[in-house]
Subunit: 312 residues, 2 copies
């Protein structure tokens, strides 16, 4: 299921020897192997573009922003693929459900206003929804680890709530404490995790739940792409003077990456190469710089960052 | 299921005013509510004595020491109830299986040498065995949290191994690491816990296992008696200058109690009141002393400790 999208373009140990005037040491720049587009995002972007090519005369739109990346959204817009902030009263053509997924109600609404639905829910996200449904059906008190406002979480929650009322969403133990008595009286508790969550967040929730119940089932649904990206970046950070995380500040998985790395080594989180100058001192001082990027960051954005660093 | 055996005899907030000559402050002595015999141990000791009373002319023996307490073993011996170090070639009368439980093979052997079996496996321990069997049958790779040499663990392991080969025993992550590849390739991992283990030990194992598998089922089989004893003692330790843990140094649950408390406040672990003098300085210096005791510690031993402290 995991597909490393960057394997072909990534120069894994790109060593850039700069200013070889013996006054400063050459910089060593490493691009993470698992940086950028994950399988689900790559699939979503490619399929939407293909749809527009295949049906140039049909209205192709996406409910919400296809991915958290302004450049990609602008590119799609230029192709005539609109991002709908909300469903119109009346629809025409194809409406794409993005990789985050949607609740069953929203699927219905898309059809009811007149659209044909094209479901691009990431298969890994689909698995979380299915696991959540299975646990709710089996009588587990369900805890979804994720931000309640994240579209993926909203859809997982809605899917589960079709089959069981006992569903909580949390990334902090504090959010669960008001329900401690309920959780204690539950015969069994099930946990699913929004695909791009941090393992440390899951661990904290699990540590809290373990003594509360006789049966705790943890479906570790953090996707392979996310877990490998995070663990690789952690390893890189240990031997780097500076980590650069490239990607939208609205993207949960990109923000998590930066959070994790900040505890290990100096880290900057930028959306594009333009922000690099804000951190000039840090970049000039660092000898070993490693770069990683969130699942919604296109290769082209990463490449521009690398090229600009070479010029420092 | 949980029965507080000490409720009647325990003086919960026993305040002992000593040396009220204004030179030293009066000591405040607190006996933990959940100190001493748990339900399973109380049941085992009472039943064995009743058996001897009911059948004075029959041979009544126990395979192993009924509980980890010399005084109790001596008392049973004096009544003519022997503790067998191992099974004889030929048996006669009733052989008791103690609260730790035994493997199915040992049950067979007891019968085969000619004994009648009297099963005093603690019902909570029985539940761990049943859960372990259920998980092994369901295809889970089973991890038993406990010491491999603990008789309860040996019996749980043997019960599970009837139905699945993939069974590991561990209290440390290091013990699992050699099997990491196997664990990673397991579709699902199940965890059961020896009833008197520490929650912190379970948490460490769970934190290690969570990222390895897509489905982790934790059957938190730490018994209520153990978890309440540990959590009450932790609370007491926070407001005490000295904790005294009474019970055998061979008893896992008593040793765990002392380990937990040592991280919170000065703690001494004694088997009987005779050892108190070894810690005279600590006891005299402490104003707030709290006492707790393991599941195999009789009230009489606890009472002697309290009475002796009053004399300091």
């Amino acid at each position: 299921m995991f597909s490393c999208c960057n394997c072909i373009t990534a120069e894994f140990f790109l060593r850039v020897h700069l200013k070889e005037d013996n006054l400063t040491l050459p910089k060593e720049i490493t691009l993470a192997k698992f940086a950028g587009f994950c399988y689900g995002v790559k699939r979503a972007v490619e399929t939407v573009k293909k749809l527009k090519n295949d049906y140039p005369n049909r209205n192709i739109c996406v409910l919400g922003e296809l991915i958290h990346n302004t450049q990609v959204i602008d590119e799609l817009n230029a192709m005539g693929i609109k991002s709908l902030k909300e469903l119109p009263q009346k629809g025409d053509g194809i409406c794409v459900v993005r990789s985050h997924g949607e609740s069953p109600e929203v699927f219905e609404q898309i059809k009811n206003v007149g659209f044909e639905v094209y479901d691009l829910t990431c298969p890994d996200v689909k698995k979380v929804q299915q696991k959540a449904i299975e646990l709710a059906k089996d009588g587990y008190y369900l805890v979804i680890v994720g931000k309640a406002t994240h579209p993926e979480v909203i859809a997982i929650e809605a899917n589960a709530k079709q089959f069981g009322e006992n569903v909580l969403v949390a990334t902090e133990v504090e959010e669960l404490k008001p329900y401690e008595l309920e959780l204690k009286s539950a015969k069994k508790i099930g946990v699913v995790v929004q695909t791009t969550q941090m393992l440390s967040t899951l661990n904290k929730i699990v540590e809290y739940l373990t003594p509360l119940t006789k049966e705790l089932l943890i479906a570790n649904t953090i996707c392979k792409s996310t877990s490998m990206r995070q663990s690789e970046a952690k390893e890189l950070a240990k031997s780097s003077d500076l980590m650069i995380v490239v990607g939208s500040k609205k993207s949960a998985n990109t923000t998590h990456l930066a959070e994790i790395l900040k505890n290990i080594t100096p880290t900057i989180h930028i959306e594009t190469e333009k922000e690099l100058d804000n951190h000039k001192d840090l970049i000039e001082k660092a000898q070993k710089i490693s770069i990683t990027a969130g699942a919604s960051t296109p290769d082209s954005v990463i490449d521009k960052v690398i090229n600009k660093i070479k010029c420092y």
